[in-house]
């Protein structure tokens, strides 16, 4: 067993874990933050994307011990109380989801995209940057629309480019 200490959604957590524990396992099984999904478990689909020190990573391909001392934001960390984050609201508004399985990863990737590229995102950029996220339901059109709208809304809301937790 190894001890790992992280800040998850602004909260300090410490646990003794087997070094094999993947970050996604730690989030879901130890912390019961089940918003982060496992779609493929082979690094392809992006359902497991979380922010690690402010950057989008696949938590199924990251060891929890390896990120000891880091700050992690999951989909649960985006909303403030009952108010959805502007990107979450945009997905709802533009019908950017059907079954919802890919959605946490899509939204975390979308916020990362805004962090890297700013509030004005064109369709080509969004599609290219979604390379690492797979959706079996929507055909992507409404996800792309939702991200463009969510990015603009984040600008208007003056949402901090990086989440407070990071």
């Amino acid at each position: 067993m190894t001890t790992v200490s992280l800040t998850v959604n602004g909260r300090a957590v410490t646990a003794a874990i087997d070094p094999r524990t993947l970050l996604v396992q730690f989030l879901r099984e130890n912390l019961r933050l089940t918003g982060t999904h496992v779609g493929c478990d082979t690094s392809q689909c992006g359902a497991c994307v979380v922010h690690l020190d402010g950057k989008a990573v696949k938590s199924c391909t990251t060891l929890a011990v390896a990120v000891d001392g880091s700050s992690v934001t999951t989909i649960e960390g985006l909303a403030s109380g009952d108010a959805l984050h502007p990107m979450q609201e945009a997905f709802r508004e533009h019908h950017g989801l059907q079954c919802g399985f890919c959605t946490p990863g899509m939204i975390m990737s979308a916020v990362d995209m805004v962090n890297r590229r700013g509030h004005h995102l064109d369709e080509k950029t969004i599609r290219e940057d979604l390379d690492g996220n797979i959706c079996r339901c929507t055909g992507y059109h409404n996800i792309v629309k939702a991200i463009a709208a969510g990015a603009e809304a984040m600008g208007r809301a003056g949402a901090p480019l990086r989440q407070a937790a990071e």
Partner: protein
């Protein structure tokens, strides 16, 4: 994944000591090749030596006429680096087209070259630019370093510490991506340094990355897209798989070479 012990040294020297002490130990960089392999139980190291806290393996510096990139520098850092963008824009472009944004946030140049996947992007850049791989023991030219499919000249316990790229006058990279994995089905890197031209091909060779001498000669005479007109790469020694047969890949080499030269010449 099978069980392993986990170690996190803070310098390359400490990492080398640990690696020598632990039987069956493996280095962990970004983990974006190693962890999927361990999950599939295709690799089962008894110990992982994580290079993530080795500050001496990180960072990008311009030294004289060379761009020196630490082994633990991520693809995203290389892509976004103003130094790399100014000195060798084609290298920043290449790094920015590896995998997807999430992979680029974790994957490293050291892990990529040490792994020498026949469809990886960096090996083409190292070979075409005439880069030097620096390890904790010695310096190797790209030609000496990449020895075959997933094979390198690295000895047991040897650690890549940095890669040094000479600044060239012109360079370009084009890849035809596997639409699912984003790896190169064929990737071609061209570089012109003084009177010398190098054309390196990844994704296509049965033995990994290789140079295309005929294209180099044609581009040496005149560094322009037109010089490659009518030039065809043979399908002998070219990979075939469910994604593309050898003939199709050989054809793509010519097409990607032209696109790379177009990028290098701004045409």
């Amino acid at each position: 994944m099978y069980a392993f012990t986990y170690h996190k040294p803070t310098s390359a020297r400490q990492a080398a000591t640990l690696l020598a002490k632990k039987e069956d130990a493996k280095l962990l960089a970004g983990g974006h090749t190693l962890l999927p392999t361990m999950k599939q139980r295709l690799a089962a190291p008894s110990a992982l030596v994580d290079l993530g806290a080795c500050a001496d393996l990180k960072g990008i510096a311009v030294k004289g006429r060379n761009v020196v990139i630490g082994a633990m520098t991520t693809h995203a850092e290389v892509a976004a680096s103003p130094e790399v963008q100014a000195a060798i824009p084609a290298l920043a472009y290449l790094a920015g087209h590896i995998g997807d944004p999430h992979v680029r946030h974790r994957g490293t140049i050291g892990g990529s070259v040490a792994n020498n996947d026949p469809a990886a992007d960096y090996p083409a850049a190292l070979l075409a630019l005439g880069a030097t791989v620096v390890t904790n023991k010695r310096k190797l030219s790209a030609e000496e370093f990449f020895t075959g499919l997933y094979e390198t000249a690295l000895d047991e316990g040897e650690i890549v510490t940095r890669v040094s790229f000479p600044v060239v006058s012109r360079a370009g990279y084009a890849k035809f991506r596997n639409p699912a994995s984003r790896y190169a089905m064929v990737g071609v890197f061209v570089a012109k340094r003084g009177g010398e031209v190098r054309v390196a091909v990844t994704g296509a060779g049965e033995g990994g990355v290789f140079r295309w001498p005929e294209a180099e000669a044609a581009l040496k005479a005149r560094f322009a897209v037109k010089s490659l007109d009518g030039l065809k790469h043979t399908a002998d020694g070219i990979n075939g798989d469910i994604h593309a047969d050898p003939e199709y890949r050989a054809h793509l080499i010519g097409v990607m070479a032209k696109q790379a030269v177009a990028q290098a010449t701004g045409k």
